[in-house]
Symmetry: C2
Subunit: 137 residues, 2 copies
């Protein structure tokens, strides 16, 4: 799935083509971002949710390793570059209007995804009383 | 988990509190939105990804049925109001910085989530040749 950033097709104004076509037409929002959900390919667990700009998506397709755009740092971010938690792409699913991706990955390093040390970023649940609980604790 | 919109706590500037605390402090972006991923509670399948503003999140917590903010229509959107595909909340997971939610749901109506008729919005995969394929076809 090697693809250069400038070869990514533009979204179609024809909803039928965008939603039912076979052409990958990633739709970036007004900030130039789309949303990506990383899922552990082995377990199906959702690991994290982050954003990609055109450059990050192209780098992901070119290398087979997931790159995001860090909104807080304002730059390209190769996941795992410092932590070793490299996310190798196994499969990319695209939603109806092509503004969101589910990326099934194999994770390097310790197998986790969250900078807090948790395996998944979604380590807290909203309890009945409105407070957050950590089910795994 | 009933909660009025105006009683939702604000995000903390203390990362430790935001990431490890027990207080739900949903973090809306510059557009007043956070991201929600709806997951079928029975199967674990990702059904859709959409956005919530403060009103939509509060309505979700108050009613136990998922409400989103439609970016295209610019208004509150109770999922399933016309289609019958009501999403009843079973569990809400919150990510580290509290700007994304995973909502495990039971789906009413025909059990689907996508306006195209597909069960999940993620019905296409990016194939090796860079085109989109429908694995279920």
């Amino acid at each position: 799935m090697t693809r250069a950033a400038n070869s990514l097709e533009l979204p179609s104004s024809d909803a039928n083509e965008q939603e039912r076509g076979a052409t990958f037409r990633p739709k970036f929002d007004a900030n130039g971002l789309l949303t990506a959900v990383a899922v552990d390919d082995a377990t199906g667990d959702i690991l994290m949710l982050a954003h990609m700009d055109r450059t990050a998506l192209a780098a992901t397709l070119e290398t087979g390793e997931v790159h995001y755009y860090s909104r807080s740092r304002g730059k390209l971010w190769k996941k795992g570059e410092t932590s070793g938690q490299i996310q190798t792409v196994r499969r990319i699913l695209v939603d109806c209007d092509q503004d969101a991706l589910v990326i099934r990955v194999t994770v390097g390093g310790d197998g986790g995804a969250c900078h807090t040390g948790a395996r998944s970023c979604f380590y807290r649940a909203l309890g009945e009383d409105g407070t957050l609980v950590r089910p795994e604790d």
